[in-house]
């Protein structure tokens, strides 16, 4: 609620405050180790280094990392299922996956040690938000292949907090649990939390009378304005969390009590900012694409992974005293992928769905809106001779088939709207496929 709020220091946060020279030393030692591991175990990585005349020992300083080749999302897809594994499947204790463009998911693997690293990263995020072993965490992120649920779960348990693995959905039950168990912290998407708040108000329950005081919100873009609204409306502190399954899941970067940028847990995840077009590294303070290298992930190391997320490293030190560098809140992506209700959706999935149903790809546009605090996705499709008929029944049947096919491919509920030919704006060059009216 106020700027003087200062959480007590949590012992788990100690690595956040390493003096910078020590942090760089630690990063370099871990980088050397992970590069050798990836070089020995991942043929694709070894070949790419050899093509450039490099070996792991070519990287003598942290800055040399920019000589290494990038890893792209397509590399994960192309080598599905095991291609980027750096450990035998028997040494892998967990798999997660996120939706991909062609029906094949992006699969990520974790060793026992990787899970410990991830749990520690999440635990440190929670500690940075001022949470501790006394917290009762309602974890409303989805459990399953999505990394959100289990990532926050293990972090909460590491912290020694009480974790309620309620997962997403069933608003009535969420509210009952929140009230009856004295929940002090909630993890979910920011839009879902606003939805919960509105329902609580409908029930004439004063949120300020509940013990809830911390919100851990991520898995979709949101803004400082939305944070202000949430904090004013509910009296809780609303924190941003950043992560992506290719790197680990949630816990790559988190805010602190200052709520001024996200500290990258860079002893585990080394950040760079590059120009997405020239692929050249950019200095701190300059906006570009975030590139991450996992320094302590052995089942599936990611070297210079291009996140497609646009941000900048904040050059100034944070008032909280953490030496971990901060990135600005992620506001957009350098490709067409969009995130809705925590799920990655690609325009190409929608094209595939239309192709399957109609045999053609009509002009279309994706319109993202936020209704009743929940993200909505409408796909406007220009009616084609194949879809159009003089009977409403036949048109409706086509529309519903496309709608179902999109839902099957993306896992997201959509509304397909038919519009007249020419209604979707044509732009020069790359079509403007997505209109985001969510105003985050």
């Amino acid at each position: 609620m106020n700027a003087t709020f200062q959480p007590t220091f949590h012992p788990v946060s100690a690595p956040d405050f390493l003096p910078a020279p020590q942090l760089r030393q630690l990063q370099m030692a871990r980088l050397t180790r992970i590069l050798q591991h990836a070089y020995d175990r991942v043929p694709l990585f070894r070949e790419r280094l050899q093509q450039r005349g490099l070996t792991p020992s070519s990287i003598r300083h942290l800055e040399d990392i920019s000589r290494l080749p990038f890893t792209q999302k397509s590399d994960l897809r192309d080598t599905y299922p095991f291609g980027l594994f750096a450990m035998d499947i028997h040494d892998v204790v967990r798999l997660h996956a996120s939706s991909g463009t062609t029906g094949k998911p992006i699969v990520v693997a974790y060793s026992r040690e990787d899970i410990q690293v991830w749990s520690n990263a999440m635990e440190r995020c929670f500690a940075a938000y001022g949470m501790d072993a006394n917290d009762i965490i309602q974890n409303a992120y989805g459990y399953g292949l999505f990394t959100g649920g289990l990532g926050a779960h293990y972090g909460g348990e590491s912290l020694g907090a009480t974790v309620i693995p309620i997962s997403g959905g069933n608003t009535e039950r969420q509210l009952m649990v929140m009230k009856d168990f004295g929940v002090t912290a909630i993890c979910c998407t920011p839009s879902y939390f606003v939805h919960l708040c509105e329902r609580i108000q409908d029930m004439n329950v004063d949120l300020a009378s509940l013990p809830l005081r911390t919100g851990v919100f991520g898995a979709e873009p949101w803004s400082d304005a939305m944070r202000d609204r949430i904090q004013e409306m509910t009296g809780i502190r609303a924190y941003d969390i950043y992560g992506l399954s290719e790197i680990v899941g949630p816990g790559v970067a988190c805010e602190c009590a200052q709520q001024s940028g996200l500290h990258v847990l860079e002893d585990y995840f080394y950040p760079e900012i590059i120009d997405p077009d020239t692929e050249e590294p950019l200095p701190d303070g300059t906006e570009g694409e975030l590139v991450l290298t996992t320094l302590s992930k052995f089942a599936m190391p990611m070297i210079r992974y291009r996140t497609r997320d646009i941000t900048a490293i904040i050059p100034e030190p944070c008032a909280c005293g953490r030496s971990l560098r901060r990135i600005r809140r992620i506001s957009r992506r350098s490709d067409d992928m969009f995130i809705i209700r925590g799920v990655n959706v690609y325009p190409s999935q929608i094209e595939t769905a239309m192709l399957r149903v109609e045999g053609t790809t009509p002009h279309y546009q994706i319109v993202l809106t936020r209704q009743h605090s929940l993200d909505q996705i409408a796909v406007q499709i220009e009616v084609t001779p194949q879809i159009f008929s003089d009977t409403v029944k036949a048109i409706e049947a086509s529309r519903r088939r496309i709608q179902q096919e999109i839902e099957t491919l993306t896992g997201i509920r959509v509304t397909v709207e038919l519009v007249r030919p020419g209604a979707v704006p044509r732009s020069e060059g790359k079509a403007q496929r997505i209109v985001d009216k969510r105003n985050v």
Binding site: V383, T384, P385, F388, S389, D390, T391, V392, K393, I395, E396, R399, E417, L418, V419, R420, P421, G422, A423
Partner: protein, 144 residues
Amino acid sequence: MKLQQLSLFLENRPGQLSEACRILAENDINMLTLTLADTQQFGVLRVIVSDVQRARQTLEEAGIMVQIAEVIAVEVPNEPGGLARVLDPLEAHDLDIEYMYAFASRHKGRAVLVFRFRDTDAAVQVLKQLQLTVLREHQLTDLV
């Protein structure tokens, strides 16, 4: 026997119907009869016009999605039971009607029923057997 009906796709927002009508008016095309089917999302305007090919061309040039469907127009007495007397035998022959609409003829005491059958050819055979007055295009024009 079969008449050509234009079907137009309309978005469900203001100005869509008037635009189509204006285009037809500007091209001096008369609408003999029409019906509008609508859903929450879109509408389908079905219309029988004086010059179907020219109407189609001008509408398409204006970017409107148009299709031609075959319908059958039957003239009946404009009196109680006029429609029922046609429907009963059609049902007896298992002819599926997708939709229909009707209008009063300029000829006193007569009404015109426009049918869109699932199987138009089969419907024509049955209607002939029933000795109903199936209108040709020029006859329809005369009635309006």
